[in-house]
């Protein structure tokens, strides 16, 4: 009886020490699921989901506060990837959060007054310019988030659809798309 109690006590003590050590040694900083969700989001930082950027949205999803179908730039593929990661049912994109073709912001430089409001709105610093100087969009960096359009006092920023080039052209699937029927 005593031996059994001692043995179990020792075992419990040793396991406790081991677990305690592991908890300190292998401590995970932050929530790894947030990182994983963030990695699947398109990083446009557009706020169309209702959160202040991709990372806040990822945090909200991880906390169970947000649905996974609020990200229009991610599209159906993005929702499917999130559903796969989180083991949730793949929902279709929320109404009002529908997928749009990819766009690029272009500043009509004739009309730009150099107010810098769009510079402040751009979440990825993709607009180049200074006060009272003409501004321009760095096309390579622009995510097409549309956040620069509203602040412009002279409405000189337009969104143009990204044109297909030989580099971005893709072969179509020979299969008859199932979605077409819906």
């Amino acid at each position: 009886m005593i031996i059994a109690v001692l043995a179990l006590g020792l075992l419990a003590g040793a396991s406790g020490l081991l677990l305690g050590f592991a908890a300190v040694r292998f401590k995970v900083e932050g929530d790894p699921i947030v990182e994983k969700i963030d990695a699947l989001l398109p990083q446009t930082q557009c706020g169309q989901c209702g959160y202040a950027g991709c990372r806040p949205y990822a945090e909200a999803i991880a906390a169970g506060e947000a649905e996974i179908n609020l990200c229009p730039p991610g599209g159906a593929n993005g929702v499917a990837a999130l559903a796969d990661l989180l083991g949730r049912d793949p929902a279709s994109l929320n109404a009002g959060h529908l997928e749009k073709p990819r766009v690029l912001a272009v500043i009509d430089e004739q009309n730009c007054i150099g107010c810098t409001l769009c510079l402040q709105a751009c979440p990825v610093d993709a607009i180049l310019g200074a006060a009272k100087q003409m501004h321009t969009v760095i096309a390579r960096e622009c995510t097409g988030c549309e956040l620069c359009v509203a602040p412009c006092p002279v409405d000189c920023i337009h969104l143009i659809p990204v044109a297909q080039t030989i580099n971005t052209w893709k072969w179509n699937s020979p299969a008859i798309p199932v979605e077409a029927a819906a």
């Binding site: 610093d125 080039t165 072969w171």
Partner: protein, 504 residues
């Protein structure tokens, strides 16, 4: 005799229809000089060449008009002398039918060359020689168009075991390499010498399919007295595919997602060797290539065409179309692609123009469900499971398709050819590959945006702190200025300074 000499074989492959005799009976004609040439600035794998000329400039034949932009890129030259009419997007031979940047040259008919400087390759440093070939715009002329100078640089790795010259030309209908070997064997061997000088291989093998006895005889004759060895290989499609030819000639298996150079083998097309000879021994950049014009044209044959010549003009030179042309294909029927128009220019990759009739295309075959017969597995020269790839590509399960080595697929078309259900299998693989590349690009773009957003947040935070630090600095100074008049106010100022200190 040849079957005995070739000790190795690759899995799968096909005996296809040949259709070589239509175009290989007559000598190579030189192309008629067109009035207007449309020279694309991307005729190779890699970055678009940077244009060096403006509309209105006079150019000489062989003058560089596009500079290689980066390591994996190639220079582009004016194919004839004349005036640059435009530098703009024009239609190019591409399955999309989309335009790409081109230089349009109106020829003056004088064919005035630049100063051509032949060099003695034996007295040149390898890197200098590679630069000469690079500036000559040399790319693989077998159809892929990979910049050759890159392949000629082993960058300090071990000696090359085997250098292979690819004269297999396994694709039906195409005979441009066959005619070139018959007529310019000495030139090909001269180019091969330059390549061997750069790569210092232990063996040099020339692989030619045994259905080209004249080419084999010509090349054997030209190789007499050298250590180069002509090896006939069995006529079995796709023996001309790099990995399969390496297997046939050396028995070495190229690793998955690897290159032949990983197993000590480097491979070039015979036409590439000939172009290297023209560049080194004659100082002529790559401005023309031999194009097979065949199928439903009146006089099929091979034409040495200036790059930028419209396909329509080559067809015209071959007597025009016959009735029943269903589709115009660049490349062969197995791996080529349909063109949207014949008003596209010859590029470095254009080895064949095939005016195909309905009979050649086997059109109107309804696609039936896969019956899992496994015929595609038996013919796959890359040892893949085409059926599994098909299911996964169709279901958009791209990660699973990659697990089945989708990217080892060489798109040779054997599986589609034998499929009893007429499923366009290769189309599915191309689609899946494109989707995976696009997703990869999206991911990179997202990562860039994430980094930039992060940097912005950090910058805003930094600016905020700097502002506060400035405020703190200013506050005591203000306090000192206003210290003397009413003492009560001074005490208040001091308090706020302390408060803001605490905040910071």
């Amino acid at each position: 005799m040849s079957a005995l000499k070739s000790l190795f074989s690759f899995h799968g492959g096909l005996k296809t229809v040949r259709h070589k005799t239509e175009s290989n009976q007559s000598p190579i004609q030189s192309g008629v000089l067109p009035r207007r040439l449309t020279v694309p600035l991307r005729q190779h794998i890699g970055a678009v060449a940077k244009p060096l000329i403006q509309p209105g400039d006079r150019v000489l034949k062989g003058q560089m008009i596009g500079q290689a932009d980066g390591y994996i890129s190639a220079a582009i030259h004016a194919p004839t002398s004349g005036v640059v009419a435009a530098v703009e997007s024009r239609h190019v031979p591409h399955p999309s039918g989309l335009p790409d940047l081109c230089v349009v040259i109106d020829s003056d008919g004088e064919e005035r060359w630049i100063d051509r400087e032949p060099v003695d390759y034996r007295h040149r440093h390898p890197s200098e020689l590679r630069n000469i070939l690079r500036n000559a715009g040399l790319v693989g002329l077998g159809g892929a168009g990979f910049p050759s100078a890159v392949k000629l640089n082993l960058s300090g790795s071990d000696d090359l075991e085997t250098l292979i010259l690819n004269g297999a030309e396994c694709e039906p209908w195409i005979t441009c390499d066959d005619r070139l070997m018959r007529e310019q064997a000495a030139g090909i061997v001269a180019g091969l010498r330059v390549m061997a000088h750069l790569l210092k291989p232990r063996d040099v093998l020339i692989g030619i399919e045994e259905d080209k006895p004249e080419a084999i005889a010509a090349m054997t004759g030209a190789c007499a007295g050298t250590a180069y060895e002509v090896r006939p290989v069995p006529t079995r499609y796709p023996s001309g595919s790099v990995k399969q030819l390496v297997k046939l000639l050396t028995g070495k298996e190229t690793p998955v997602e690897g290159l032949p150079v990983d197993v000590g083998v480097q491979c070039f097309n015979v036409a590439t060797a000939y172009a290297a000879h023209r560049a080194v021994d004659h100082g002529e950049p790559l401005i023309s290539r031999i194009v097979t014009v065949t199928g439903q044209v009146r006089r099929p044959g091979n034409i040495e065409a200036l790059l930028g010549t419209a396909f329509a003009e080559l067809v015209e030179q071959c007597g025009g179309y016959r009735d029943g042309v269903e589709r115009l294909i660049m490349g062969g029927p197995m791996m080529g692609f349909a063109l949207h128009s014949d008003e596209v220019p010859v590029t470095k990759a254009a080895n064949c123009i095939l005016a195909a009739s309905a009979a050649e295309l086997a059109l109107e075959q309804p696609v039936m469900p896969c019956i899992r017969c496994g015929a595609c597995v038996e013919v796959c020269p890359a040892d893949l499971l085409p059926q599994q790839l098909y299911w996964h590509a169709r279901a958009r399960e791209f990660d699973k398709a990659q697990d089945h080595h989708l990217f080892s697929c060489i798109e040779c078309g054997c599986c589609s050819y034998v499929c009893p259900s007429h499923i366009p299998l290769v189309q599915y693989y191309r689609y899946a590959k494109n989707e995976i590349w696009a997703q990869e690009q999206e991911k990179q773009k997202a990562e860039l945006a994430r980094q930039r957003h992060q940097a912005r947040l950090e910058r805003l935070e930094r600016e905020k702190q700097e502002r506060e630090a400035k405020l703190r600095q200013k506050a005591p100074a203000k306090a000192a200025l206003t210290s003397s008049p009413p003492p009560a106010e001074t005490a208040e100022q001091g308090n706020t300074a302390v408060a803001s200190d605490r905040d910071g």
